[in-house]
């Protein structure tokens, strides 16, 4: 990863989400990571999906390691793989930075293609997670059904940026409970995840 935690660039975007192609194969932030991109306004997203795949959808990777002893041998013998395979990260947009600070609300314009995407620092994560107004945005996300994993890993990551980790998690848990009224089983599962 670059020194400034730059991970890649936006290659596809909408006002709900964006896709980042990472600069380096397999060098992606994991699910639940807070990233930022663009300037004026700076947008914030949370990684909800990471995929490794062939850059060209028409070209499927084929097994290459029959004669290799070790898995890494495949990559050593086929250096082009690092160019043909890509790691893509999908992020859901959760807010933007305005003059009043970070606003957790839907964004009105998607990030530009080729916007640099940067993994947020711990301070930024702390600042961002100091309110959880965007939780409904995620919880009701039409994008995917594994959103709960995203939320739980985001919250666990965020908790580590706060001084009082467990207090943060309880706060977050209560916000979840608030937003998941009527979805007790889902809530329960989410809470179990973040309680570990």
């Amino acid at each position: 990863m670059n020194q400034d935690n730059r991970i890649g660039e936006v290659v596809e975007s909408s006002s709900l989400q964006f896709t980042v192609q990472c600069y380096d194969l397999y060098k992606s932030p994991n699910i639940g990571t807070l990233v930022k991109c663009g300037t004026d306004p700076q947008l914030f997203g949370i990684v909800y999906d990471v995929s490794n795949k062939s850059m060209d959808p028409a070209r499927r990777p084929v097994p290459r390691g029959r004669d290799e002893n070790k898995e890494e041998g495949v990559y050593l013998s086929n250096p082009q793989l690092n160019r043909l395979l890509i790691t893509e990260v999908n992020c859901i947009l959760v807010g933007y930075k305005s003059t009043e600070g970070i606003l957790q609300s839907p964004v009105s314009l998607p990030p530009r293609i080729h916007s640099f995407v940067i993994e947020c620092s711990e301070e930024e994560l702390r600042e961002f997670s100091s309110t959880l107004d965007f939780l409904p945005l995620l919880l009701e996300s039409p994008i995917l059904n594994s959103i709960d994993d995203v939320i739980s890993s985001f919250l666990i990551k965020s908790s580590k940026s706060h001084d009082d980790k467990s207090r943060f998690l309880i706060y977050a848990g209560k916000e979840l409970a608030f937003n998941l009224s009527g979805q007790l089983i889902r809530l329960n599962n989410l809470l179990k995840r973040i309680s570990k």
Binding site: I102, H162, G173, K174, A177, L184, L191
Partner: protein, 550 residues
């Protein structure tokens, strides 16, 4: 930036939740924030509600449990996991509190000179509700000062002092209520202290149990200091029972003697119930007075032997002989009262007045007579009637010369319902004082455990009521008659703790407030008074005849 988690983390525990519904008549419903638990909030707790440019000050009147998920009961979450339990409580299972908005505190500096105004509207949806801060309480009730006396702390607000404006307080008659053992006496003692300390009135205390003057006792039989021990130079102890006083180590300033001639028929009618007199029998006193003359009737009547003489008198007065005989029978009890002197009294009234005139506070200890209601009532009524009459004269004089206004007088009576019950309230001097408000600068402080026994009209005349726990329905009704927000206050009142908590409402407070009554009886508590005394003391040399501050 509005940083919720920072609030959360920095334990900004003051924010409770937000308004979700409500009406002016029923108050507003407040949904607690997820991280709040119902158990940390008590009925009677004060809250502030921020609404655009207004700030409401209100009181918690009810607490409920709600659940966002109706399956919660059937399908409880994994509360064995402490984290989940912690989260669920206060969120999925959340708390609702009912808040009665009482006052509007203007945020505007200009408006704030008018002080808090009664809430004639309610805060809009989603207004933020917080626990009232010390400053809020100060805004509402005022800071401790040379008029404001710290009486206690709002419920669960140990650092906020609730102060009563004593000057305002004594402008009208007031009441202290509560069932037995709830702290009426301690509370009253504090009020008396407050009045002494602020120097805005003289006082006459009918100390039935002899617990205000020199020393009292707390429940665990520890001695607590009486007023004289704290303000020796401002308090005079009068005693009806010198022997008892001396036994208790009190050297009374004056021993009261009441002569037969001091007793008037009105004093008897007050005792009608206590002495178990019929209407006719009680009224007979007036006939006797007419027959024997104002100063002699009691003496003459009691001197009568039975037989012919008596039958003649009955015939002459046209009173049923049995009635007259029962009156004689009851009144002869008075012979047993050592303080009643056949040979004549010692003009206690003048004595008392001379103390009062000097701005001092007279506490009349009843000693052993405290347990005899008839004695107590007789003396209280008798003295008060006379003192009041003198005040009436002063007041009349003052009409032509305002500087002649007498120092206001506050008269404290216990078992007030005995004097103020509906059937005699119209006849007793206390009823008159209560009804006339401060006509002659005299007001009452009535202390009672059975407020339902007091005439409704008089109850409604009481300016400020401070009431400890009451559990009798009638008592609750009586205390709250004519008070707005009656139903809510009733629930607050019936849930007060059994001691040292009181609901204060009425004329001298902008809104009803539940307080934990200031501790009394510890070294620190006395210390506080001493300090206050020097702080708020006024120079006695600068007092005029009526103790009025120059």
């Amino acid at each position: 930036m509005n940083s919720e988690i920072n609030n959360f983390i920095s334990k900004d525990v003051d924010v409770l939740g937000m308004v979700v519904s409500g009406s002016l008549t029923n108050g507003v419903e407040v949904k607690l924030k997820p991280e709040r638990s119902v158990s940390e909030i008590k009925v009677g707790r004060y809250v502030s509600i921020e609404a655009e440019n207004l700030k409401f000050f209100g009181v918690v009147t009810d607490i409920e449990l709600g659940a966002t998920d109706q399956t919660l009961r059937v399908n409880p979450p994994e509360i064995s996991n402490p984290f989940i339990a912690n989260v669920i409580s206060g969120s999925t299972a959340y708390g609702i509190i009912q808040v009665e908005p009482m006052l509007i505190l203007s945020q505007d500096d200009l408006d704030s000179i008018y002080g808090p105004q009664p809430a004639k509207t309610i805060p809009p949806h989603f207004s933020k509700v917080s626990l009232a801060s010390d400053e809020d309480v100060e805004t509402v009730f005022g800071l401790e000062s040379d008029t404001n006396f710290w009486l206690g702390n709002p419920l669960d607000m140990d650092t906020a002092k609730l102060c009563l404006n004593i000057e305002e307080l004594i402008k009208r008659s007031n009441g202290v209520f509560g069932k037995s053992g709830t702290g009426k006496t301690f509370l009253t003692r504090l009020l008396l202290l407050g009045i002494i300390q602020r120097g805005v009135a003289s006082q006459l205390v009918f100390d039935m149990q002899s617990e205000y003057g020199w020393k009292g006792f707390s429940e665990d039989s520890k001695e607590v200091k009486g007023l004289k021990q704290i303000f020796s130079s401002k308090v005079a102890i009068f005693s009806l029972d010198e022997e008892s006083s001396r036994r208790r180590g009190v050297n009374p300033d004056y021993v009261v003697r009441i002569g037969y001639e001091d007793i008037e028929p009105g004093d008897i009618s007050v005792l009608k119930e206590t002495l178990n007199l019929s209407e006719v029998a009680a009224d007979a006193a007036y006939s006797l007075e007419r027959y024997f003359g104002p100063n002699n009737w009691f003496k003459e009547f009691l001197a009568l032997s039975g037989g012919e003489e008596f039958i003649d008198l009955a015939r002459n007065l046209n009173i049923n002989q049995a009635a007259l005989s029962s009156l004689k029978n009851r009144l002869s009890r008075f012979k047993r009262f050592d303080f009643i002197d056949e040979s004549g009294g010692n003009d206690s009234v003048t004595q008392i007045l001379s103390y009062l005139d000097r701005g001092m506070h007279v506490i009349l200890e009843f000693g052993r007579y405290g347990s005899d209601l008839a004695a107590y009532m007789l003396v209280a009524n008798l003295l008060t009637r006379r003192i009041y009459a003198r005040y009436a004269v002063f007041a009349e004089k003052a009409l032509g010369d305002p500087t002649q206004q007498p120092t206001p007088l506050v008269i404290t009576i216990e078992e007030a319902h005995k004097f103020l019950s509906p059937d005699i309230a119209s006849q007793t001097i206390f009823g008159t004082i209560a009804r006339e408000m401060r006509k002659h600068n005299v007001t009452l402080l009535v202390v009672d455990q059975r407020p339902s026994g007091i005439d409704d009209e008089i109850m409604s005349q009481l300016g400020t009521k401070i009431t400890c726990l009451l559990d009798n329905e009638k008592d609750l009704d009586s205390v709250l008659t004519g008070v707005s927000g009656n139903r809510k206050l009733r629930s607050v009142l019936s849930r007060l703790e059994s001691k040292q908590q009181a609901l204060i409402f009425g004329h001298s407070v902008p809104m009803p407030m539940v307080i934990k009554v200031r501790d009394y009886g510890t070294a620190t508590s006395y210390g506080d008074f001493q300090i206050e005394d020097t702080k708020f003391n006024f120079d006695e040399d600068n007092e005029d005849l009526f103790g009025k501050k120059l």
